[in-house]
Subunit: 375 residues, 2 copies
C-alpha cells in the first residue's frame, strides 16, 4: 500500500469545512485504489496571524518544500486588511515554491446549470494555463510625489504621455504606481507547458495579452509565444486581447482548448470561466511546479459569511483533490473522483443550495465519498 | 437654426461605412430638432499613416481642440503592428484632450438577444465610468537585463518577491516591464464624476480594483474612493475585485447602477458588458472631458475582414452619435435617436447579420434615419 503524507492548510472562513470533505473523498479513493494518506495540518490563516503575528514563516515554507503536494482550503478574513493574508500566505507559497503554472480546468459538467445560453458540456471544456509567479503579482509599487517619480523611472515615454510628463514637472501632486515584470525564462516555461498540454488535447493554444496598449510587457510575451509556437507546427494558435476574450468565453467557449495567459489577466478570466462552468462552487485550481512542490485549492475565497454553517459547496475543493492525486500519479483515483462528482450531480439529490438543493457541505462530501467507494 | 461644426475621423476598416450611417442619422435628427451640422473630415488612420508616416500630429490635435466634440469611427489595420495606430491616434487623442471619463452605457435594448440566461432589459441597464488617461495606459515600460532593472527600480519588495530578488542578483536574463500610475487628482475627478452621475440614477456606485494584490496602485484608488464616498451619504457603494465583477456581470447585472473603474480593468469589463448587452455591434462609448473636447465612438474595432462589404451593424456608432448630441446639449435629439434604434430593433425587419437579419449597413442607417424623421 502506497503511503502519502500530505500537508493541509485549511485556512480561513469556510476553508476547514470544505477541506474536511476533500480529505474524506481522497481517503475513500485511497481505500479503493490502494493508497493511504497521512494528513499533516498546518495552522496558517487569520486566527494564527492574529495570535502570533506570523503569516507563513520561512521555516514553514522550508518544511513544506519537502512534500510534493499541499492541499489548501481558502485564505482571507474581514478582520484583516485586503491583501495581507492573500499575499502573505497564498502568494507567498506560490512564489516560494515557484509554482509557475496555475492550472484551471473550465469544464461544464453534465447536469450543471450555466448562466450562458445554448451551451452544453461539450461546448465548455477547456483549460486555462495561468502564469503564476510574475507579471503584476510581483508586489512592486509604491507612492510618490510626481517630481520624485520622474527620477525614479528612467524610461522612455510615448507621445501620448507627454501630458503626464508635463504634470510631473509642474506640480508635486501625489501618485501611486505599480510595476509588472515578466522574464524570458518565466514566460517561456509556462507557454511551453501549455503547448505540451495541448499536444494531449485538441492541439490548439490561445494566447491572451494586451499587446496593443501594454506593449512593452505583452509585446515581449507575444514574441516568446511566437517563438515557442514555431517549435510545435502541429498546434494551431491565436492571439486574443484580454478584453475580447471575455466576450468569447461567454459567446464561443467551444473555440478554446488550452488558453495560456499572463498572471493578472489569468486571474480575471478564470473567474469568468468559473462562472460559465456553473459558479465558483465548482471550480478547482492547481498551483503547479512540475519539479517541486505543487498546491491545490478551490479557486473561490473564504466566504466568511458562510463560515461554520456547513452550507457551501465542497465540490471545487474535492475536484482540486482530484487534480492533486493526478499530480501524485494516482490517475485512476483522480478520474474516479471526477466521475463521482459527475454522478452526484446527475443522479443524486444531495446538492448544496447553490445547485438548487438543500443538503449540507458534509452531506455532499459523504455522498461523493460513497460513490467513489462503490465505483 | 443652431449650427454645429463637427470633426469626423472615419478611420480604418469598417470605420467609414459606420460613420456614414451615424452622420446620416444625426443629420435627420438635425432637420427634425432644428440644428444643422457641418461635418469636417480628418484623414487619420492606416492609409494616411502609410502614405505620410504621420499618426496624428500636434497641429491636428491643436486644431481639433477648438471643437467641443469629435466623431470617431474605428482605428486599427492588419498591415500595421498591434498598438501603433491605436496608441498613436486613439490613445493620443484621449490623452491629449484629457478625456478622463470613458462613459459606456451597458443597456440591453428591448428585442435584443443576450447570451446570458434569464435577463431582461430591466436587468441589464447600468453605466460604466472608466478612467481614461492613467493607469497602465500611460505607455511606460521597457526591456532590461535583470541586473539593470534592480538599480532602476528603487522600490520596496514584499516577502514573496524575495525569490525574484534572488534571480535579479544571480543572472542577467532578459525581462520586460510595464508601469502603471494613477494620480490623486486623476483618480478623484473620475470617481467624483461617477458619484454625480449616480445622483441622477439609482444612487449606487460600485468600485472595481484588485487592491488585494496590486495594493500600491489600487489601495490608493480605494482610499480616494472612500474619501469621495464620504461626501455622498445618500449613495450606497461597494468594492469589487476585478476578477469577481466579471462573474457578477454575467450572473447579477441587475446589481449595478454606476460602476467606476481604473482604465485597464475598465477596458476588460466593458467588452464583457458589450457582450451581455447583445454584442459589440450595439455598444457605444464616449471619451469625455466635461470642460474640453470629447470624442465619441463605437467601442468595437475596425473589423478589417468586413471592410467595404456594407455588412456590419452601424448601431453602436449611431448610438455613439446620440451620446455626442447629448454632450452638445441636444438632449431631445439624442433621446429620439435611441428611441429610433429601439424601434428599428423591435418593429422593423431591417437588421444586419449579427442580429439575425440580412440587411446592409446602409439599410439600417436609412431605416433609423427614417424613424427619427417620423418621430
Ligand atoms: C486571493 C487572490 C490573491 C487570488 C489571486 O488573485 O490570484 C485569487 O483571486 C485567485 O485567483 O487565486
Ligand atoms: C483599441 C484599444 C487601444 C482600446 C483600449 O484598449 O482602450 C479599445 O479596446 C477600447 O476599449 O476602446
Amino acid at each position: 500500500m502506497t503511503q502519502y503524507k500530505i500537508p493541509v492548510i485549511p485556512g480561513d472562513g469556510i476553508g476547514p469545512e470544505i477541506v474536511a470533505e476533500g480529505k474524506k473523498v481522497i481517503d475513500a479513493a485511497g481505500e479503493k485504489f490502494g493508497f493511504d494518506v497521512e494528513w499533516v495540518e498546518f495552522p496558517q490563516g487569520a486566527d494564527h496571524y492574529l495570535e502570533t503575528g506570523e503569516l507563513i514563516s520561512l521555516d514553514t515554507l522550508k518544511e513544506l518544500s519537502s512534500y510534493p503536494v499541499i492541499y489548501l482550503g481558502s485564505i482571507g478574513d474581514p478582520r484583516i486588511a485586503p491583501g495581507v493574508l492573500e499575499k502573505g500566505i497564498l502568494l507567498a507559497a506560490r512564489f516560494y515554491f515557484d509554482q509557475y503554472v496555475n492550472l484551471r480546468p473550465i469544464k461544464l459538467l453534465e447536469g450543471v446549470w450555466t448562466p450562458v445560453k445554448d451551451k452544453t458540456p461539450k461546448d465548455i471544456d477547456f483549460t486555462v494555463v495561468r502564469e503564476n509567479t510574475e507579471d503584476f503579482y510581483i508586489g512592486i509599487g509604491g507612492k510618490a510625489k510626481k517630481g520624485v517619480s520622474k527620477n525614479l523611472l528612467e524610461v522612455e515615454r510615448n507621445l501620448y504621455s507627454a501630458k503626464f510628463d508635463l504634470d510631473i514637472e509642474t506640480d508635486s501632486e501625489e501618485i501611486a504606481y505599480q510595476i509588472g515584470m515578466i522574464s524570458k525564462e518565466g514566460t517561456r516555461r509556462v507557454i511551453k507547458y501549455a503547448f505540451d498540454l495541448a499536444l494531449k488535447k485538441k492541439k490548439h493554444v490561445s494566447s491572451v495579452d494586451k499587446a496593443n496598449v501594454l506593449s512593452d510587457i505583452y509585446g515581449f510575451w507575444r514574441q516568446e509565444f511566437q517563438d515557442i509556437a514555431s517549435g510545435y507546427p502541429e498546434i494551431t494558435t491565436d492571439f486574443n486581447y484580454v478584453d475580447a476574450i471575455t466576450m468569447w468565453f461567454v459567446k464561443n467557449p467551444e473555440w478554446f482548448d488550452v488558453v495560456v495567459t499572463p498572471n493578472m489577466f489569468g486571474d480575471i478570466i478564470t473567474d469568468l470561466g468559473a462562472m460559465i462552468q456553473g459558479g465558483l462552487g465548482l471550480a478547482p485550481g492547481g498551483n503547479i511546479n512540475p519539479e517541486g512542490t505543487s498546491m491545490f485549492e478551490p479557486i473561490h475565497g473564504s466566504a466568511p459569511k458562510y463560515k461554520g454553517q456547513n452550507k457551501v459547496n465542497p465540490i471545487a475543493t474535492i475536484w482540486a483533490g482530484s487534480l492533486m492525486l493526478e499530480q501524485l500519479g494516482e490517475g485512476e483515483a483522480a478520474d474516479a473522483i471526477v466521475a463521482a462528482i459527475e454522478k452526484n450531480i446527475l443522479d443524486s439529490k444531495v446538492k448544496t443550495y447553490d445547485m438548487g438543493g438543500t443538503s449540507t457541505t458534509s452531506d455532499v462530501g459523504d455522498d461523493i465519498a460513497r460513490i467513489v467507494s462503490s465505483i
